[in-house]
């Protein structure tokens, strides 16, 4: 294969890999919004929380997997506490108040992080057995850990898909997204469903932060940038649709990557431009329902 083709394919790989990581974050966001109708601006903060916990526990135990094993239940717990204490009051409120409350939550999270963990940039070591690269061309190698992350993301995506579409609980979740009153009148505790979905969303965000920490670094404000991008993904894909989040993230990943290659000067604008285009064509996103 000619050099140009090889590099083109590698760029495709780059775009897909980035998109898959975005998917992990966006899937949780779209679920929370699709089922609970809550705009959660603090989603990026859970991503940051996961990363900092992973860093902190990995430093102590020297093992990233162990750190994740401890950190995931911990974040889920924190998520459930927040749900009971704050989010519960937002279900029937206007989007505006959700935006405002979760914005306040971002501020609180940032400061707590600053007080507990300080403000430096931290690195997390890639787990030893994954810390090598595959040589693709004489000059370029591909870090295997990234391929691993991508594989995990695909696995999680498949798992989510199966869960939502092929289990009883998943069915209740889908029903709850469509019509909560009906679900309640059928005797299913909608509150329990909400808590489950919220916990799942938080866990996905935190997990994304943990697994990406070795390649992304851990630093103040890390949640903000990726939050906006995940929202863009969710909006493009259609709110509430995991499939939409998947397609949307791949689209964004590829657009961003190729935007950098071909339209360098305006690469920052590419994904917003893409979002505007999609919404012009389909105001509810690619796979969304009219809310």
């Amino acid at each position: 294969m000619s050099d140009k083709v090889i590099f083109f394919l590698i760029q495709v790989l780059n775009g897909v890999q980035y998109g898959l990581l975005l998917f992990l974050l966006a899937s949780g966001l779209t679920l929370i919004f699709g089922v609970m109708r809550i705009i959660n601006l603090a989603h990026g903060s859970f991503y940051m929380l996961g990363a900092y916990l992973a860093f902190s526990f990995a430093e102590r135990t020297g093992n990233l997997w162990l750190a994740m094993l401890i950190a995931i239940p911990l974040t889920v717990l924190i998520g459930l506490v927040l749900e009971a204490a704050l989010f519960r009051f937002l279900y029937h409120r206007d989007h505006l108040y959700q935006v405002l409350l979760t914005y306040g939550l971002i501020l609180v999270f940032e400061e707590v992080r600053s007080i507990l963990f300080g403000d430096e940039v931290h690195g997390v070591k890639v787990p030893a057995f994954l810390d090598f690269s595959l040589r693709l061309t004489p000059t370029l190698s591909y870090p295997v850990y990234r391929l691993f992350i991508s594989a995990v993301c695909i696995g999680v995506g498949a798992g989510l898909y199966m869960f939502i579409n092929y289990t009883r609980v998943g069915m209740s979740v889908r029903a709850g997204a469509l019509n909560r009153e009906m679900v309640q009148s059928l005797g299913i505790d909608i509150g329990l469903i909400y808590r489950l979905v919220f916990a799942l969303g938080v866990a996905l965000a935190a997990f994304a932060g943990m697994i990406a920490a070795p390649v992304a670094s851990v630093f103040p404000g890390m949640g903000n940038q990726i939050l906006i991008i995940s929202f863009v993904v969710v909006v493009i894909g259609g709110i509430g649709s995991v499939k939409g989040a998947f397609i949307g993230s791949l689209l964004i990943g590829l657009a961003d990557t190729f935007g950098q290659v071909f339209a360098r000067e305006i690469s920052g604008i590419t994904l917003y431009f893409l979002m505007v285009l999609v919404l012009l064509w389909r105001p509810e996103g690619l796979f969304g329902r009219a809310t």
Binding site: Y103, L107, I115, I239, G268, F273
Partner: protein
């Protein structure tokens, strides 16, 4: 001020009187601080038009704020002053035009999609300006001399004078308030309010709701441009962060916390938020923590914002349900 209880009207007039007299007691710093707050109040009122009256939640209102600011920068020659009478209308027109174009594109979406696409536009401007050498990029750009007000050889006031600037901004804030008040009391305003309550019904009644929403969007954009222009004029410094989501978020906070759907709510919101921030920042470096907690608490406890709280306290037994309509 039709529809406001007498007690509230008196409070508002007292507030205005206080602002008029304020410069007598205040030093330079507080004069400038209050000027800044009033500029933000204009910004917040313009957003309230969208959020509180038309029901359009925009997270990208900073787009027009930034456009107003950068227009002044572009119109200010390097070491001379731009004419206020020329540059201000141009800034308003630029902001309104942008709002027209963006509005046509975004108003087809609703709900969360609308929120996100308005955010998208402000982000696009942010990245464009950051990367633009001519516009100063991420380091920002200066407006070396404040706009001057000479007409036929006579300058009615000097913007470089803090006192003049204060009263100029105060006057504009009052004019904005009255303009919006008159607008909302007119048939146009009633239609807008109707759209917020139930757009389908309005459409089935024959109203071309898209055009009304667009009109509101353009007016709100122009007023935000006014605020941006004044902000740039105050310190003579612009940078891409004026387009940022943080600016849009802060002004949205002011509107919601102050109380949507009234016009004095955003003004209250601007004063409370900025003064609270000043107070907290002096106490601790982690002031964002109590600030965030305050916001969360306010959302849970004050559904109608501070203006709602004021009205509840002052208006002893009045049924506030009437205000929601």
């Amino acid at each position: 001020m039709r529809g406001y209880h007498l007690a509230v009207r008196i409070l508002l007039l007292l507030g205005l009187a206080a602002l008029l007299v304020f410069p007598v007691a205040a030093g330079k710093f507080y004069l400038q601080l209050f000027s800044k707050i009033m500029i933000l109040a204009i910004f917040a009122m313009s957003l309230d038009l969208l959020v509180g009256f038309t029901g359009l939640i925009s997270l990208g209102h900073a787009t027009f704020f930034g456009l107003g600011a950068y227009t002044l920068m572009l119109m200010s020659p390097e070491y001379a002053a731009a004419s206020l009478w020329l540059s201000l209308p141009v800034a308003l027109v630029v902001a309104a035009l942008a709002a027209l174009i963006i509005g046509v594109l975004v108003l087809r979406s609703s709900g969360v999609y609308f929120i996100m696409v308005t955010l998208a536009f402000s982000q696009m401007f942010f990245y464009y300006v950051t990367g633009s050498r001519r516009l100063g990029g991420s380091d920002g750009a200066y407006i070396y001399v404040k706009p001057e007000t000479t007409l036929y050889g006579w300058a009615p006031f000097q913007l470089s004078n803090n006192l003049h600037f204060y009263y100029f901004v105060l006057a504009l804030m009052v004019v904005t308030y009255l303009l919006l008040q008159v607008m909302m009391d007119s048939p146009f305003g009633h239609t807008i309010r109707g759209i917020k309550v139930n757009e389908h019904r309005m459409r089935s009644l024959g109203f071309p709701t898209f055009r009304y929403k667009l009109a509101a969007f353009v007016i709100a954009g122009a007023l935000a441009g006014l605020a941006g222009y004044l902000d740039a004029a105050q310190y003579g410094f612009v940078n891409p962060d004026l387009f940022g989501w943080r600016e849009s978020g802060i002004v949205l906070m002011m509107v919601i916390l102050g109380g949507m759907g009234t016009l004095y709510g955003p003004i209250l919101g601007a004063f409370v938020l900025v003064l609270l921030q000043e107070f907290l920042a002096d106490q601790t470096k982690h002031w964002l923590l109590p600030m965030g907690l305050f916001v969360i608490l306010a959302v849970l406890v004050l559904p109608l914002g501070i203006s709602g709280m004021v009205e509840q306290l002052v208006v002893l037994r009045r049924n506030l349900g009437a205000r929601r309509a």
